[in-house]
């Protein structure tokens, strides 16, 4: 998986201009060769461990568990990684890949800025020139991450087309890549885009679930019942779910952003409310109107504010491997506050969506059953946003 055309079932593929097809084919070939290259894997492992801080803890959230009084809740602490989110796993992997391909420049898109910061970080580390496209609206709501990227020496380019969010930043990054494909590697930040990107990003993120598998044994977790992760494009969720995709005893739940409510038009729940179509090079579930025009998504969390989703998630949905649900801004904010108050951990608003879904599943969980939530990132970047909506508390 995927097949030779990059399809997961009917999803995925390469719906891109001819100009970039040779670059995608080259990337696929180089990646396939490096995947089994011991020196490359060793280098990747070194940076993930010594620079990024892997493995991350699988933390038993005792207080949160007591709060619900049912099964046991564990948090996979991707928020403890360097730069504050799982995005660094993929950025390191792809920067090493770019270096092996002899590309000196990288381009990326970012929504909440976590992927942008991760790219800016690896660009500084490996001496690559980096430019990051970011929607104007996201630049305003994620000022901290914009400053971090600039401090790291990256050029942040505001995107004003469309509604100036992640969707438009992605289109602009693709346009830049199309124009500069000869010396530039495009680091896509999630399991989206044309083949081989969904596969590459998944491979660099699947370490999350692989670690969990080992940690389950160390922690003596016997009855793992649920794994929960938030979904924008879906990279942390894919990283969590992939290793457990054949394990039918574990219910995997991907939580999308229902924004102001699934019945309003202001949400970003592409799997729950969308239908399949093509955006940014892949066939996958999308928010679109009857003519196939992309509907602008909405979420309080810039990182989930994307009208599409990774094609492998679409495949997981249709084949029943993963269940996809959605929670509102309000529910996510409650979870944001809850974890801060109960566990002393401020989660990213993205991750807060996954935490919010505990409200649904914990009442159904037995005492001896375990739930693992992927805490994909920390919430520092969202504090300004939270002050706006929650006030001074």
């Amino acid at each position: 998986m995927p097949d030779k055309n990059g399809k997961f079932g009917e999803f995925g593929g390469r719906f891109v201009p001819e100009t970039v097809m040779p670059a995608l084919i080259e990337l696929e070939e180089r990646y396939e060769a490096l995947k089994n290259d011991a020196a490359f894997q060793e280098e990747l492992h070194f940076y993930l461990q010594e620079y990024a801080g892997r493995p991350t803890a699988l933390y038993f959230a005792k207080n949160l568990t007591a709060h619900y009084g049912r099964g046991k809740i564990y948090l996979k602490r991707e928020d403890l990684l360097h730069t504050g989110a799982h995005k660094i796993n993929n950025a390191i992997g792809q920067a090493l890949l770019a270096r092996r391909m002899g590309k000196k420049k990288i381009v990326a898109e970012t929504g909440a800025g976590q992927h942008g910061v991760a790219c800016a970080t690896v660009a500084a580390l490996f001496g690559l020139e980096c430019r990051v496209y970011m929607g104007k609206e996201d630049i305003e709501r994620q000022a901290l991450n914009v400053f971090r990227m600039r401090l790291l020496g990256t050029e942040v380019i505001p995107v004003t087309s469309g509604t100036g969010t992640l969707k438009d930043a992605t289109s602009e990054a693709i346009r830049y890549w199309v124009t500069n494909v000869e010396d530039t590697h495009y680091i896509i930040g999630s399991v989206v885009g044309p083949h081989p990107y969904p596969m590459i990003v998944r491979d660099f993120q699947k370490i999350i679930g692989e670690e969990v598998k080992e940690q389950i044994l160390k922690c003596n977790i016997e009855k793992l019942k649920y794994i929960v992760a938030c979904i924008g494009g879906g990279s942390n969720a894919m990283g969590m779910f992939y290793s457990f995709r054949n394990d039918k005893a574990i219910t995997k739940i991907g939580v999308e952003a229902a924004g102001k409510g699934i019945t309003t038009n202001e949400h970003a729940a592409s799997l729950t409310e969308g239908r399949p179509g093509v955006l940014h090079g892949a066939f996958s579930y999308l928010l679109q109107d009857k003519d196939g025009q992309i509907i602008e998504p909405y979420s309080i969390s810039a990182g989930l504010d994307y009208p599409g989703v990774g094609p492998e998630h679409s495949f997981f949905k249709d084949s029943g491997i993963v269940e996809y649900k959605a929670v509102t801004d309000e529910e996510a904010l409650q979870a944001f506050k809850r974890l801060a108050r109960i566990e002393g951990i401020i989660p990213a608003l993205e991750s807060s969506h996954a935490l919010a879904y505990l409200e649904e599943i914990m009442p159904k969980t037995q005492l001896d059953e375990t739930v693992i939530v992927c805490l994909s990132g920390r919430g520092d970047k969202d504090v300004d946003m939270a002050i706006k909506v929650m006030g001074g508390l």
């Binding site: 891109v16 087309s161 469309g162 346009r175 124009t179 093509v278 196939g292």
Partner: protein, 263 residues
Amino acid sequence: MSNLSETLQGLKASGRKGLIVYLTAGYPDYATTLETVLAMEAEGADVIEIGIPFSDPIADGPVIQHAATLALKAGATTAKSIELVAQIRKNSRIPLVVMTYVNSILGYGKEKFIADFVKAGIDGLIVPDLPLEEAGLLEDICKRQGIPLIGLIAPTSTVDRIKCIAQKAEGFLYCVSNTGVTGGQHNNYDQIGTVIKAARQVSQIPMAIGFGIGNSQGASAAARYADAVIVGSAILEKLTNEGVIGVRSLVRSIREALDEEGK
């Protein structure tokens, strides 16, 4: 032979360089699109490319993207664009080629999209985000409906890909002048010229260069390498700044330059 092939083969046989012009359907409104199409035909355009606006046109530069955004805001839909094609057909036999992105076609329903446009009178279809590997999605439907799915080659295309695409090509082959999006400034056609040479080894199909051709000098330079040139962003800019009159004079000047080149 189809209207499109007949026109382009005829031009090729007579040694005259073809002029393909692009407009976004419904920009700034459908009445203007219709008026502009007829004006361009009168000034000597050989083929009209009608862009069906899409919200996320990744192969297009700022001018065409902006036109699509405004057209959609003004209420452009696929159904209205089909009606526009029918209107043009009532007034003209000029070959019409529809350009749009995969999702516009899937959104409306791929069978219905192609059938409805063919019924209204189009002669070909260009889908810039449908490379060789994915063409199977629409190939059979286009065949059944009797229109060519126009292939694209780029300066980055490898020799194997060029051959494969050229051998399958029908109508004409769309040769992208530069790595990049529509509307970029461009004056050197050597790179795509080399690609076209490779394509000509395996195919007799007319070759058209597009992307970045903005004026008569650019058109002349491109025409040395190809059988036809495609002008898009520059037409929309003229339409925005000077109206249909401006488009008329641009098309006329390019036509004259191409005729000079063909001599």
